[in-house]
Every structure is written in C-alpha cells, then in structure tokens.
Amino acid sequence: MIFGTIFSHFADDGPAVHIAPGGVLHLGPLTVTNSILYGWICIAVMCVVLIAVARRMSVKPRGGLTQFVELGVEFIAGTVESAFSDRQRARRYIPYFVTLFFFLLINNWLGLVPGVGEALTVRGIPLLRPFTGDYNGTLAAAVVTMLMVYTASARESGGVKRYIRHFFVGSPLNPIYLVIGILEMITDLMRTVSLSLRLFLNVTIGEIIIAVFSYLGHIAAPLTAAPFMLVELFVGALQAYIFVTLSIMYLAAVANHGGDEAHEPLTEAAVPETMGASPAAEAG
C-alpha cells in the first residue's frame, strides 16, 4: 500500500554510513583497512610535527604550535600529579599518559578533516577513516593502557598477591567478601571494554551525524555540517581527556592505597575502607 512504499523508501533511502572498517588495499594475504591506513598517515604526521615541536622547546616561551603542545603536556602532567598522593611516584607515569593523550587527540581531530570518512569512497568503501572510529583501534589502545595500569598497579602495591588482595574489602575466607571481591575483579576487567567503547562510539557517531547532515544539506552540505564539526572538535578533545583521566584514576586508586590493607591478618574481617590514602594508615 501507499504507507508501505513511503515507509520503506524512508528506511532504504538515506546517507551511506559505515560503522565497520573496510579493506582498501591488499598486500599479499594481508588486507589493509581504511582505518589503519589513515592511522599510519596520522602517526607519520604526529611524529614529524611533535618531534619538530620538541626540538623547538626552549626556556624562553615561543609562540605558535609549540605553545599549544606545551599547554597540553602541562595539563596532563598536572592531572597525573594531582591524582597521586605522592608526586615522585606520579612522575614515572607522565610520559605514557601524555603520549596517549596526544595520540588520541590528534587521531580524533585529523578524523574531522574534510575528505576523511564518507566523502571519498572507493567501490562503496570510504578510502580513509579515523583510526579511533574503528573498534579494533580503540580496543588496542584500551588493552595496552589497561595492561600498563595492571602492571603498574601490581608494582605500586608491592607484588601481584597484594594487588589481588586489594580487591577484597575483608578477608577472602569470608564467602560474602569472596563473592564481592570476584565481582570487583570482573568489574575491573570490564573497564577495558567501557574505555574502548566510549571512545569508539563517540567518534563513530560523530562521523555518522556529520554524514547525515551533509546528506540533508545537499548542495549546502558544508553549511549544515559545520556546527556538528565544531561539536565534534570539542567531543574529540573531551574524549581524549576522559580516556586518559579515567586510566589515571584507575591507577591512582590502587597506588594511593599503598598496600596498607596487606598488613591485616587474613582471618580478620576488616571494616571496608574508603578510597584514597588516609593519614592514619600511612603513619602506621
């Protein structure tokens, strides 16, 4: 009937959007997808620009790009230092988090360059796609970050056994605390998924929204897509910051405990402690 034709037209017609990467190059048995291709381009740009900026670094303040990079580095370094109770401890983790922040930020922002995404297609597949708009990319970033966080947490709490002990609020011999501790561990493992999904969905949905509004604009596509581009600039920076902040918080929550629970005897059902270091526990 007429309703059916209208509804099915509305369902079928529309902008072409992709949420999965597609293969664009074939190197023997390997397929290079559009996202990894653009990821390599972004990494090359990042290496050239950031190394050039690092060479220009001087005591006397310089203008231009150097100033903005310095601002970002100081911002993340300040976030790491304020999250830890011990500044000397925090210094060790600053390089990794600053690198991660700039990697994600530049990937998010270069993904908004016109021509990346649905604009240029080869046989129906976009030629370039932001690296963070591919779940494999963000999952890789989250897995590497969480592995680093787990390794560092085990080192900060003084051994793997003490780190695992940290999940139990009381004695693991108490069945209730045992179940709660195991649930805590599963929650901890889910952080990898939530970190990667958050970044991936924000970037991909931004791409989709820009594609939809470019389609609606038709000839005036730059005009209709521009506001969403600006929103995505903000979202890209915010998501890079949030990814880094959350991983810092996961690490700092363990590091600030400092293994003060580990001294308790196993049979004692201790009162659950609040997060963060308490002065009494540090003194004892």
Binding site: F3, G4, F7, A11, I19, L201, L238, T245
Partner: protein, 77 residues
C-alpha cells in the same frame, strides 16, 4: 485490500525510533542531574569550580549508555 496496517508499516523503523527515544531517557536524566547538582554545589561553594573536569568525566560515563542505544540502531536482524 487484504493488507493490514501492520504489514504496510515498516515495523523495524518504528521499533528503532521507539528504542532511541526510550533509550535516551535515562542518560538525559542522568546528565541533567549531574549538571544541576554541579551548579548547586557551585552555588554553595564557589571553590568547586576546579572540579569541572571531574564532572565531565561522569557525564562521559553516563553518556556511554546513550551511545550504546545509538549503536544498537545498526544491528540488522
């Protein structure tokens, strides 16, 4: 003439619309609560302005659930 309304209307489109609308209710309320409580705290104690970044972190945590709804739009069958 024998076609019923249910056959004529593409139910998948209606379902997706309902899913989006219902799924966005929760995150919307959550983000509203975070923003409202942030400004209440700011009114009581203006020094809390330095926690703005932390409030955004919680916005991102809540927002994930809305984004998951949006991602579910692309599940076919």
């Amino acid at each position: 003439m024998t076609t019923f309304m249910a056959d004529a209307v593409n139910l998948a489109v209606l379902g997706k619309g309902l899913m989006l609308g219902l799924g966005f209710i929760g995150p919307s309320i959550g983000i509203g609560l975070i923003g409202g409580n942030y400004f209440q705290a700011l009114g009581r104690n203006p020094e809390t302005a330095k926690w703005f970044g932390q409030a955004l972190v919680f916005v991102a945590v809540v927002e994930l659930f809305g984004l998951l709804t949006f991602a579910a739009l692309f599940i076919n069958k």
